[in-house]
């Protein structure tokens, strides 16, 4: 019988024979990740476990990206604690300051994750690396501390929902819309404990960056992982990131899927996820009466160079509405530099945008763009939970970079074709 991507990747990292969903396996990990919010707890647990060393100083990544540049004394103290932990245990991939970017944009760009890897991270959006054909999943800090000490973890082999996407994409419809449409179909708990495996001609046609946007939000369907085959595009991306020796990886013919979900995108409009759950998805045209006060373009979901190009193409020669704060946060220093050299910053600044540093910041209501009571944002981020970006009575609408840019111009949720 054939195997799913999840089963095939897990099988490469365990001594046990992988038989199918439900089986609990001990699994070696390729990389262990934590950030400035979750690493302090992981360090505390690691010390409390009595661990004397990390399993591999080159396979632990500590990325200071959430409340950085440090937003207050307490967050600065947390980062200091992680820095000291990294030095004490010789952790090589400790990143802060001018080298730092949003973790899930930074790790693929640095070539630290790739096809066939098993990656565990104390961050729920660790599933992003599924775009490269890695089995990557989020866990809590103490699970991560255990993985740092042991170099392994346990998994229940997940059942897989295959998502087959076909049809022709209309202008301004892209990866963000595809994943929101998927979540609308599964619901926010529909993939709990399961892997999502994306395929079909539309997915094959996407760039690796677009696939990252989709894999990133698998967790918003409750998913344990969001997986893509590693194809020629993946290998080219990984080679450009300085990796070598990566191989193609694909699910077997006749793999046993729990369910096959088919989505035909022909004739579909861009979509928006309305408050307060990511599965509350509507066509953008239906939301045209919603007045917004802020537009955020960035995050681990949509802060990559292609996202910034998409937003700039819409904003070129236009200005944000007077009552809208337009905030652009390129996700890594390399993306920042590329956007600068390509002249995208001129377009953003001419549009009245604030261009900020790489940070998770506003996505989780940390800093650099917090909403007041009653305010509404359209954001390219991944969660629209109550109070996620600020006051409990504020609202977040999730959308693509093109829709976020168009909405900034009009001050209402807007289809870019209507500008």
């Amino acid at each position: 019988m054939g195997h799913t991507l999840a089963e095939k990747i897990i099988a490469r990292h365990t001594d046990e024979a992988v038989t199918g969903p439900g089986q609990i396996v001990r699994c070696k990990v390729s990389l262990v990740l934590a950030n400035d919010i979750t690493a302090p707890l992981a360090a505390k647990s690691f010390r409390a476990m009595g661990a004397k060393k990390v399993f591999d100083t080159a396979r632990v990544a500590l990325i200071m990206d959430h409340f950085t540049p440090n937003k207050d004394v307490a967050s600065a103290e947390q980062v200091r604690g992680v820095r000291e932990f990294a030095r004490e245990f010789g952790i090589e991939k400790y990143v802060e300051g001018g080298d730092c970017g949003v973790e899930h944009a930074l790790l693929p760009e640095k070539g630290w994750v790739g096809p066939g890897d098993v990656v565990v991270g104390a961050d729920s959006h660790t599933c992003t690396y599924g775009a490269l054909g890695a089995f990557a999943t989020g866990m809590g800090s103490t699970d991560i501390a255990a993985a740092m000490a042991l170099g392994e973890t346990w998994f229940k082999v997940p059942p897989t929902i295959r998502v087959e996407i076909t049809g022709t994409l209309a202008p301004f419809v892209g990866a963000k819309d595809l994943i929101l449409m998927t979540i609308a179909r599964t619901g926010v708990a529909g993939a709990t404990y399961k892997a999502l495996e994306f395929g079909g001609p539309v997915v094959e046609g996407l760039s690796v960056e677009g696939r990252m946007t989709m894999a990133n939000m698998a967790i918003e369907a409750g998913g344990k992982a969001g997986l893509f085959a590693a194809d020629a595009k993946t290998l080219a991306y990984c080679a450009a990131a300085g990796r070598s020796g990566d191989e193609l990886i694909a699910p077997d013919e006749g793999a046993a899927y729990e369910e096959i979900l088919r989505i035909d995108v022909t004739g579909k409009s861009p979509v928006v996820a309305c408050p307060h759950l990511p599965d509350n998805v509507r066509p953008v045209e239906e939301m045209a009466d919603v007045v917004i006060h802020q537009s955020v373009i960035g995050s681990c979901t949509n802060g990559r160079i292609e996202d910034l190009r998409e937003a700039a193409a819409v904003l070129k020669g236009r200005k944000a509405a007077p009552d809208v704060r337009l905030i652009v946060l390129p996700a890594t220093p390399a993306i920042w530099r590329a956007a600068m050299h390509e002249g995208l910053f001129d377009i953003f600044l001419d549009a009245g945008a604030v261009v900020g540093p790489p940070t998770c910041g506003p996505c989780l209501g940390g800093h650099m763009g917090i909403l007041a009571k009653g305010e509404r944002a359209v954001a390219t981020t991944n969660r629209n939970f109550k109070g996620r970006m600020g006051h409990l009575e504020s609202e977040v609408y999730l959308a693509s970079p093109a829709v976020a840019a168009a909405s900034a111009v009009t001050g209402r949720i807007t289809h870019p074709k209507d500008l």
């Binding site: 609990i24 809590g140 109550k386």
Partner: protein
């Protein structure tokens, strides 16, 4: 293990931003986090809770971020058990790792009302509603999870493993 306490009902899809909003993630101390438990749902929610009380939730409790601060905040508020229709995956691991007991009861959650007094037998998977007199039977805590709880959480579980002669670290 048998826990007795008052049920505090919350809804479906209670996310970790509701359990402990991000601005409070500048601490790792359970008691400090516990002061703001459920502040993203209702500010001041924790004031209604006494030590030993029980959260009773709908589907997908703990969805969203991987923050372990969420089960820590619940424990810090003095709540040892969460009963829910179902749990989100990362939260489910985190709960047991931190020593928080979690029981899944599916649709039967409707048979518990806010303020009911409960007696929860985690080993047998039986919840007695002392207010209504009804009894809910569910899956007991799985053995692999109970082993982590018995050790006092994942930290002690790994500590024992690292100290064992065949330890790999």
């Amino acid at each position: 293990m048998i826990y007795t306490g008052k049920a505090h009902k919350v809804g479906e899809h209670i996310d970790t931003d509701a359990i402990i909003p991000a601005p409070f993630l500048v601490s790792t101390d359970p008691l400090e986090l516990g002061k703001n438990c459920m502040a993203g749902l209702t500010p001041g929610w924790v004031k209604r809770v006494k030590a030993g009380d029980i959260i009773v939730a709908g589907e997908n409790f703990g969805c969203g971020s991987s923050r372990e601060h969420a089960p820590l905040a619940i424990l810090g508020a003095g709540i040892p058990v969460v009963v829910a229709a179902s749990f989100a995956r990362i939260f489910y691991r985190n709960g047991f790792n931190m020593g928080l007991t979690l029981l899944e009861v599916g649709d039967q959650v409707a048979r518990i009302k806010d303020g009911d007094e409960l007696s929860v037998d985690t080993g047998r998977g039986v919840i007695k509603n002392l207010t209504s007199g009804e009894e809910i039977v569910c899956q007991p805590v799985p053995h692999s999870m109970q082993a982590i709880l018995d050790a006092g959480g994942l930290v002690n579980y790994v500590k024992a493993r690292l100290a064992a002669p065949e330890a790999r670290a």
